[in-house]
C-alpha cells in the first residue's frame, strides 16, 4: 500500500520485471499496510460466526461460496485499481459487463467458444481503448468520458435481442464452465480466474517498471512527464486493461446466470470503486495496491453474506455497508495524516 516512493525511481525499460526481490519487498510492505484491514476481516468473521445461527458462517463450503461471490466484483476492482491509481476513474465497467455478456453469448453459436471468449475480452478492451484515448489525448475529465461510454455501452447492450436476456445453450459446456465449473469438485472456476487476474495485476503494478511509472504518474503527473515517462501510452494501456477485466467479468456473469442480460451490471462500477477505496487506494492517485483491493472486495463480500445469513433486514444492510465504507476510508485518511506528521 505505502509504496508511492517506488514511483520516484526513473528507469529506462517499461515492462521489464524490476526483480523478484523488489516485488517481495513491496508485497511485504503492502501486507503491513493492510494489517488493520486484515484485522477488520478477522473481527467480521468472529462477529458473523457468532451471529449466524448454528455457526454456519465459517463452514468450508460457505467460505468457498463467499470467494465465488466476491470474484466478479474483485476482477472489476483490480482493473479499476490501476485506473484510480493514475488519478483516473472508469464508470463504464458495469455497462461493459453487459456488453461483453451479450457479445460473447451471441458469438457462441455461430463462431464457437474460443472466438466468443476473445470477442468478450476484445469488446471490453475496445471500450477501454476508447476511454484511454480520450483520457490521454483530450483535456476532458475521465469522469465525463467514462460516463458517456457507460451510456453508449448500455445502449449497445440493450440493442441486442430486443433487450431480452439471451440464453446460453445447454450444449455450450466450455462457456458454462467459466461461471459454474468446480475444480476437483470444490474450487469454483470464477475464483481461479479471479486469482489469475490478481497475480497478473499484482506483478504488473508492483513488480515491473510499468507499474512504477503508474505510481509516478498518479503521484505527480507533471514530474512524471518531465522524467520522460510516456504518459499517454501508459494511460491508454491502463484503461484497456480495465476494460478487458470488465469483459472477463461480463462473461463470468453471463455464464453464472446461463444467459446474457442487456440490463446486467447496473451499479457494479460503484461496488468495485468501493472495494478499491476500502483497500486503501487514494482517489487523488499515486497511492494504492492490488492486494489491498482484494481485501476490500472480500470485506464487502463478507458484509453482504453475513448480513444476509444473519437475517438482517435489507434496508439496514445498505446503511451498515455505507457506514463501514465511510469508517474505513476515514480511518485510512486519519492514519496517513498521523504518519506524514511523524515523517
Amino acid at each position: 500500500m505505502r509504496n508511492a516512493e517506488h514511483g520516484n525511481r526513473t528507469s529506462k525499460g517499461t515492462l521489464a520485471l524490476s526483480g523478484w526481490r523488489q516485488l517481495i519487498a513491496t508485497l511485504v510492505s503492502a501486507a503491513q499496510g493492510l494489517l488493520p484491514l486484515l484485522l477488520a476481516i478477522a473481527v467480521l468473521l468472529v462477529l458473523f460466526s457468532l451471529w449466524v445461527p448454528q455457526g454456519r458462517f465459517l463452514r468450508f463450503d460457505n467460505l468457498i461460496d463467499l470467494a465465488q461471490q466476491v470474484s466478479v466484483n474483485a476482477i472489476l476492482a483490480f482493473g479499476l485499481t490501476l485506473v484510480i491509481l493514475i488519478g483516473g476513474i472508469d464508470l463504464s465497467v458495469g455497462a461493459v459487463v453487459a456488453v461483453a455478456g451479450v457479445v460473447s453469448v451471441s458469438l457462441l453459436t455461430p463462431a464457437g467458444p474460443v472466438v466468443a471468449f476473445l470477442g468478450g475480452i476484445g469488446i471490453g478492451a475496445l471500450f477501454g481503448l476508447f476511454n484511454g484515448l480520450f483520457a490521454a489525448r483530450t483535456l476532458m475529465p475521465p469522469f465525463i468520458i467514462t460516463l458517456a461510454t457507460m451510456l453508449v455501452a448500455r445502449g449497445f447492450a440493450l440493442g441486442f435481442n430486443e433487450s431480452r436476456p439471451l440464453p446460453v445453450g445447454e450444449e455450450q459446456h466450455l462457456f458454462l464452465s467459466l461461471g459454474n465449473a468446480r475444480w476437483w469438485g470444490w474450487l469454483p472456476m470464477p475464483v481461479i480466474l479471479m486469482l489469475v487476474v490478481f497475480v497478473f495485476s499484482t506483478i504488473l503494478l508492483h513488480g515491473t517498471r510499468f507499474g512504477q511509472h503508474l505510481f509516478a504518474i498518479g503521484g505527480n503527473r507533471e514530474a512524471a512527464r518531465l522524467a520522460g515517462i510516456a504518459i499517454a501510452t501508459h494511460e491508454v494501456l491502463v484503461y484497456v486493461f480495465c476494460g478487458a477485466c470488465a469483459g472477463l467479468a461480463g462473461m463470468i456473469h453471463a455464464s453464472q446466470l446461463y444467459s446474457a442480460e442487456p440490463a446486467a451490471g447496473q451499479g457494479y462500477e460503484l461496488s468495485a470503486i468501493a472495494a478499491v477505496v476500502l483497500g486503501g487506494t487514494s482517489f487523488s492517485g499515486g497511492v494504492g495496491s492490488v492486494p489491498g483491493t482484494l481485501v476490500g472486495a472480500i470485506i464487502i463480500g463478507i458484509l453482504d453474506k453475513g448480513l444476509n445469513q444473519a437475517g438482517v433486514h435489507f434496508s439496514l444492510q445498505y446503511i451498515v455497508k455505507g457506514g463501514v465504507i465511510l469508517a474505513a476510508v476515514w480511518y485510512d485518511v486519519f492514519r496517513r495524516r498521523v504518519k506524514s506528521r511523524q515523517a
Binding site: A42, S49, P53, L257, Y258, H313
Partner: protein
C-alpha cells in the same frame, strides 16, 4: 503487533467453535425459510411477503426476506446464502427467468425444495411448484375494458420484457386485441416496471405520437409513472390508462379519475398459498405444479373493494 495476534487467535477459536457446532443436529426445532424478491420497491411484493410470513410464523417457522434489487447476480448470491443455512424450503421471485437456472440446480443438489412465486421460470421441472396470478387473463381483461371504453384506441405498451409474468400479460392483451379490430398498437417500449422508469419513456412517446390515446403499462407503478407524464403534458382525460396490479395506489388513481382500470392481483393470497404448499410438501402431501391465482378487473364501479380491503 499484539492486536494482530489477538485477531488471529479469535478467528482460530471461532473456527473451532464453528466446526464443533456443526456436529450438533442441524436444527434447533425452528424451521427456517428464505425468500428472494426481484425488488421490494413495489407494494405488491411487500404484501406477498406479508402473506408468506403470516403462514410461516403462525406455524412457528422463521422467514428471511432478501431484496435482489433487479440484479440477477445478487439474487443468485442471495439464494446461495440461503441454501447454506439448510432451509426447509426457498421461495424465489426471479429477476430473470432464464438466469435463475444456476440457483435452481444448486437447490436441487442440496435437496431444498423451491417454490416460485409470481413470475414463472423457464425450467419448471427444477421447482416444486409455481404460484402466480393468472397473468394471461389479467392482460386479457385489461384489453377488454379498454376496448369497451375506447374501441378505436391507438395504444402504446410499456413492457418489462425480462419478466415472464409481464410477457404473459402482454400476450393476453394481444390475444384479446384480435377480437377488437379497431384497436391498434403504435409502439412497445421498455417501461422498466417502475414509476421512475416509465415516466420519461411515456413523456417521449407522447411527444412522438400526437394521436396516442391509450396506454397499457404492465403494472401499477409504471402506470403511475405514465400518468405523471400524461399530466405533465396536459393530456389527462384524453389518454385511457389500463394496467394490472390492483395496489392501493392504483385504486386511488382510479378514484381520482386518472386511471381507467387495473386488474387486481392478490399478492397476500399468493404468499399464503405458497407458504401452505411448502408445508404440504414437508408433510409429504402431493403438490400441484402450476397454481394460478385468479385476478379481478377493478374500475370506478368496484374500486371501493380494494380501498376497504387495504385499510385493515
Amino acid at each position: 503487533m499484539r492486536w494482530y495476534t489477538v485477531g488471529v487467535t479469535a478467528v482460530v477459536l471461532a473456527f473451532w467453535a464453528g466446526c464443533r457446532s456443526t456436529e450438533q443436529p442441524s436444527s434447533d426445532g425452528v424451521r427456517l425459510f428464505g425468500v428472494s424478491f426481484q425488488t421490494m420497491n413495489n407494494p405488491f411484493f411487500v404484501e406477498l411477503n406479508e402473506g408468506l410470513k403470516g403462514v410461516i410464523e403462525a406455524r412457528g417457522g422463521r422467514l428471511i426476506t432478501l431484496d435482489a434489487q433487479w440484479n440477477s447476480l445478487k439474487q443468485k448470491n442471495d439464494v446461495a446464502d440461503l441454501l447454506q443455512q439448510n432451509p426447509s424450503a426457498v421461495f424465489i421471485n426471479p429477476v430473470n427467468w432464464e438466469g435463475i437456472k444456476g440457483s435452481l440446480l444448486e437447490a436441487r443438489r442440496k435437496n431444498v425444495p423451491v417454490i416460485i412465486v409470481d413470475a414463472p421460470v423457464s425450467e419448471p421441472d427444477l421447482v416444486l411448484c409455481q404460484v402466480a396470478s393468472d397473468n394471461f387473463e389479467a392482460g386479457r381483461l385489461a384489453c377488454e375494458s379498454l376496448a369497451k371504453a375506447n374501441p378505436r384506441a391507438k395504444i402504446v405498451i410499456l413492457h418489462l420484457s425480462v419478466n415472464r409474468a409481464c410477457i404473459d400479460r402482454v400476450e393476453g392483451f394481444k390475444a384479446e386485441m384480435a377480437k377488437h379490430p379497431g384497436l391498434k398498437v403504435l409502439d412497445i417500449q421498455e417501461g422498466k416496471g417502475s414509476t421512475e422508469g416509465a415516466r420519461p419513456v411515456m413523456r417521449d412517446l407522447l411527444g412522438r405520437f400526437p394521436e396516442l390515446d391509450a396506454v397499457f403499462p404492465i403494472n401499477d407503478p409504471s402506470a403511475l409513472g405514465a400518468i405523471s407524464a400524461i399530466e405533465a403534458a396536459g393530456r389527462i382525460g384524453q389518454v385511457t390508462v389500463v394496467t394490472v396490479d390492483g395496489s392501493r395506489e392504483g385504486a386511488l388513481a382510479i378514484q381520482a379519475g386518472k386511471l381507467h382500470a387495473t386488474v387486481a392481483q392478490f399478492p397476500r393470497e399468493i404468499g399464503r398459498i405458497a407458504g401452505e404448499k411448502a408445508y404440504d410438501h414437508l408433510e409429504g402431501k402431493p403438490v400441484e405444479k402450476d397454481i394460478k391465482v385468479p385476478v379481478k378487473l377493478i374500475t370506478k364501479e368496484n374500486v371501493h373493494e380494494i380501498l376497504n380491503a387495504s385499510k385493515k
